[in-house]
Symmetry: C2
Subunit: 502 residues, 2 copies
Amino acid sequence: MIKKGETVSEISILQKTKVVLAKGDGIGPEIMDATLKILDRAGAQIEPHFIEIGEKSYLMGNSSGICNNDWILIDKAKVILKAPITTPQGKGYKSLNVTMRKTLGLYANVRPVNAYHPFVETHFPDLDVVIVRENEEDLYAGIEHRQTQDVVQCLKLITRPGCEKIVRYAFEYAKNYGRKKVTCMVKDNIMKLTDGLFHKVFNEISSEYPEIINETQIIDIGSARLASNPENYDVIVTSNLYGDIISDIVAEVAGSVGMCGSANIGTEVAMFEAIHGSAPDISGQGIANPSGLINAAILMLSHIGQNKVAEKVKNAWLCTIEDGFHTADVYRKESSVKKVSTSEFADEVIKRIGKMPKQLPVSTLSKAKGKIEIPKFVRKIQNKNLVGVDVFIDWAGKIPKEIAGGLNSVKAINMKLKMITNRGVKVYPNGNKTTYCTDHWRCRFVGDKATMVGESPIYTSITFEQVVSLLAELNYAGFDVVKTENLYEFDGERGFSLGQGE
Amino acid sequence: MIKKGETVSEISILQKTKVVLAKGDGIGPEIMDATLKILDRAGAQIEPHFIEIGEKSYLMGNSSGICNNDWILIDKAKVILKAPITTPQGKGYKSLNVTMRKTLGLYANVRPVNAYHPFVETHFPDLDVVIVRENEEDLYAGIEHRQTQDVVQCLKLITRPGCEKIVRYAFEYAKNYGRKKVTCMVKDNIMKLTDGLFHKVFNEISSEYPEIINETQIIDIGSARLASNPENYDVIVTSNLYGDIISDIVAEVAGSVGMCGSANIGTEVAMFEAIHGSAPDISGQGIANPSGLINAAILMLSHIGQNKVAEKVKNAWLCTIEDGFHTADVYRKESSVKKVSTSEFADEVIKRIGKMPKQLPVSTLSKAKGKIEIPKFVRKIQNKNLVGVDVFIDWAGKIPKEIAGGLNSVKAINMKLKMITNRGVKVYPNGNKTTYCTDHWRCRFVGDKATMVGESPIYTSITFEQVVSLLAELNYAGFDVVKTENLYEFDGERGFSLGQGE
């Protein structure tokens, strides 16, 4: 806590936006103190509420690193500035970052990355990219099941509200901050339904922003181009896993991992943090670089509408970097003037409040249009029609025709076996003998009146009672059913993928 | 086909290894002719069998771009050298590459990437990395289901035989070609069961190769370091999606996308190809760079044990690059001597057979130990015990307690509702009101005697009859069950993840 008489206490004189502050672990308290001192002197209108999250909270018995009272404070303040924390080693401790993102519905992770050449070395002096990463769903829902000796599964969940929120946030962000282009990255040549949904929503929403250029790239070549030519990108929007990868790539090639802040935006709550960790190896020495948290605080000020203060802090910070006052992590003889401590760095920033950088681009945050508001999701209802079920069976055999024979002799009420795949590859009917088979067989049952017209299957409706009866019969016949996936059409359109080779 | 009297016909005189050759589409035939001419003059002992795959085959009515006779030829020869093909636009045409990989069980995609600085520009002159990518499973099994208005799902499948084969291949490759280090990339801090399995298998197998350094990196920071410091890597082994991304990154930052070949290795069959596409825009002009296919052919020669010929071709090719005879794509005034056509390039390579490069590293392929053999997978059987089921319900409501109330009143024989999650986040019991809920509710049912001991749940066995009965009762009570995932313990160890916040 900040003691009375210290500089930071002055923040509370002009009570304005409530902000929850978490000093965190390791270098956290040092860089938080430095950051708050700068915010104070720049005239930030915030009312600070300190919470104790991280290592101490974990060790006091909170398995998620945060106590119930802190949730209540967060719920009141809606804005969090968080220094890095340490998750203790050992079982049962869950990542506080993941818990906070998910519990508070922080759907957007926003990470602006810039080059600060020649003060921070990079191959890409003009790099200026913002990654807008979906933050709640995708494989990071963490739903995993092992169901046979050989096979483990993780569910990748992509939702329409999730896609709409993140894509709209990216375009609103671009509009708000005068960005020219939004690039979408997906792998919908392979994942036609999940990544296809993300791409489809991107196309829908981008058409509402004709003044902003839009483009879509496949994630593999997109990541590669981002690594080799990051200066060609402006705003990038993508799903959770891809975003995790590319936001690290761009920070690394910019050389500015130690300088980046990021925002986690929710419908009600938003959390701001440095992208680096708590660096326990250098904690307590007063040598850490507070720039990551300073940049996080700048994002926070902008988010709560204090764009002028945000701009003032940013320009003062840019001047400090330009003038060569560098903490040890960035210090290089050729481009630095003085190696400074954490608090000296803060003092140098404070000295430059009101000044403009001469070489690095001047911040124009005060021109931002204001708070970004995302409309509530409105669900459109389509007609959903059950047409079959994929039954997954654990079977140690190797010959597809054998399991098919067994399945065909099971009494399935008005249903028939359409195909079997193993790891997605069709092995019945007409499989290829070189296809390797695990013990995880996906057996597709559809209505017995289903037929083919040319290359296109035509399905017929079934009832869930038929599915339940099929499961009972399969079990009775000795098949080890490990999971099911119903097959639906939505407004007559197939809501499931075909087998590879189907 | 090659006519009698042409250079390539001489290959057939010394009948040795049968090789299926596919000239492909676009620039395919031009670069294949150039490559075969070089192989012939270098003394490659191959017996060529040409097949017609790609665009023509698609348009003749083969929806996967290959006809049945060609499968028979492949089955006999076991080795394929394939020029790039074009998949026609339009519905129903499936990626031939994916079909071939999966149908032939080509489990390993191997892509060596090198810098050819200063002849090809790069920031990383010493880059020399081999990506060994799992090629059959992961999200690319392509099993997708839409089951509610909001939510679409893709299954990520990771298997023990898949992990064992690819990891062992990576270590055997390193051993065979004198590589020093194998790096594993996973995201097992989030996906503890699926990526956890890959990591676990990596640890098991790496211990059998004490002479090779091993390390594991999280894919996000791993990709970032690969993009910024690729010279720190040697061999990298990873799963399908991550491998897709990082193999493009490394080729791009090396500047050598047009130069790379790759191998697709199966237990019986192997396929070799350039990593670039069929470039229809420059086809027929005789200006394409055949280097990608030449390097693929070098990988092929090494794979079939003709390492001396492989080395001879590689060194001649390196000399040609060094001597500044460059096709248009690589030509730069500063580092090139002459802009050459496809066939002129081949002639320049042929002129240099027997010569050694002076500046670029000399190929030492002839020191490779020989063919890589991977032992057959042996399944270890663990005791599998059914302890519950995750039932996924489509429900348009918003208040978790409402659906929980309904579920608790359903007659479940000796089972009870343990928790409900939405997109992986626990919302019942004791959810947080800010958690956003879609229409996709995962409802976990376990034996009614299951209990908690401290932080750890203790489960009890249930039968599949109980699961079937539960499904029938849920359906009768009006719940729309869209999918199920059984919960198992294996040798007493939990085979499923806990909910976020459970």
